[in-house]
């Protein structure tokens, strides 16, 4: 990490001025780069961005998300993906290209209320984001505990190169599927491990702004295992 120290900024605050590129959550006003959101400024390699501390989830291409089937028409399902847009899952994605609305029963595959792990195929905002459930680790979720956290805290939960989530998974003997939209599914054969994993995730969500969070979580995981 190079460049200036990260700073807390609010909308309208000047982050820096000079020959920088205004990227995520910033705008250029004259010579100044101005934040448009509450967050942490990050000046890096001639570009400026702000890491948001609040706000909802915006679908991005290739994001893994967890969704809940909300309804279906004769050609597609719609899934609530914890965003202002709903995910569109075409029936052909599940039944293959020879899908026919008269012979295939959509509710037999996915009914209202079912949870799915999906990947976003196309999110261009002119229409609802297209999602798919064909792929590794994707598809209907049959078991596990659904946990909801703020989408802005997902990177913190994952940690640097997955350190945080790997630690939680290995020490509680559980599997966590993380959706970029802030929905997580925790599953484990051991009920105590499951409970502890959920507690650890809640701790990360609460204390996301604290430095040395990994140590704190580690302590919490170890203390209760005795």
């Amino acid at each position: 990490m190079s460049g200036e120290k990260k700073r807390h900024v609010i909308p309208g605050e000047v982050i820096t001025s000079g020959p920088y590129r205004a990227e995520q959550n910033t705008i250029q006003v004259g010579d100044n780069i101005v934040s448009t959101i509450i967050g942490l400024s990050d000046v890096h390699d001639g570009s400026v961005r702000v890491i948001p501390l609040t706000g909802g989830y915006m679908p991005k291409d290739d994001d893994l998300v967890i969704g809940k089937i909300a309804s279906h028409s004769s050609l597609s399902w719609t899934a609530d993906i914890n965003s202002c847009y709903v995910g569109m899952l075409p029936a052909s994605d599940v039944f293959g290209r020879d899908y026919s609305s008269s012979s295939d029963d959509m509710t037999a595959k996915l009914a209202k209320g079912d949870l799915i792990a999906a990947r976003i195929v196309n999110a261009d905002k002119t229409r609802d984001p297209l999602i798919t459930i064909s792929g590794r680790e994707l598809g209907k979720i049959d078991s596990g505990e659904l946990v909801k956290i703020s989408p802005n805290k997902v990177p913190r939960l994952i940690g640097k190169r997955g350190s945080m989530i790997q630690m939680i998974e290995s020490s509680t003997n559980s599997q966590v599927t993380i959706g970029q939209n802030g929905l997580l599914v925790v599953s484990s054969d051991d009920p105590n491990g499951l409970l502890k994993a959920v507690q650890a995730i809640e701790l990360v969500e609460e204390q996301a702004h604290v430095a040395n969070l990994t140590d704190q979580v580690k302590e919490m995981l170890e203390s209760k295992s005795e």
């Binding site: 448009t36 959101i37 509450i38 501390l53």
Partner: protein
Amino acid sequence: MGGRDTDIVLLDENGIRSDGRKVNETRKVTIKAGVLKNANGSAYIEFGDNKILVGVYGPRDVHPKHMSDTDTGILRCRYHMAPFSVGERKNPAPSRREIEISKVIKEALEPAVMLKEFPRTAVDVYMEVLQADGGTRCAALTGASVALADAGIPMRDLVAGCAAGKAADAVILDVNNEEDQAGQADLPIGYMPNLKKITLLQLDGVLTPEEYKQCIEIGIEGCNQVYEIQKKALQDKFFASGEKQ
């Protein structure tokens, strides 16, 4: 408005106003961000004796559907006074005045919010006046902009509101209810302090060109003071328990 006859001394010989303020002094303003759990963003503002609660929802689906815009998100504002907010019970149905204030606040916020990033959605701002004491439109605007920032809606700048006016032949800052009723003019201003742009400007009463210039000047100064409080409210919520800059 020539000002009504009244027993109240709006400005005494020492230049002190009916509530003990100097001519260029605002009332005490306190703002708290993030007070409502069920809204995406919220704020509670006390502007002197005004008490206003603001909740922001969205971006979210637009209902009714025909209101949605494929190019941009839309902003919807509702300013509402609670029946118990004034001395005599106010009918809770939206009055002409409330509809007007909802409209001007919406237009005062629109230059600040960047809704092009959320096409086909709506952002709803609900402002509920719990107690009114003159200058509620400025106070509601100030609170709404904090609540929008709290909700994480991208904004070019915060919008701060403060009124200037004229009472007892003097130009005064932050007109309260008595001064509004018995005074000569009221000039509410909405202002984006970093961009230095005015987004709301109304005038009720008569001012000479010189007085008007003075009002704008001290009004903007008042907005700058209000802005510092808005900034602090957001910093208190988001950065209080962490390393400072």
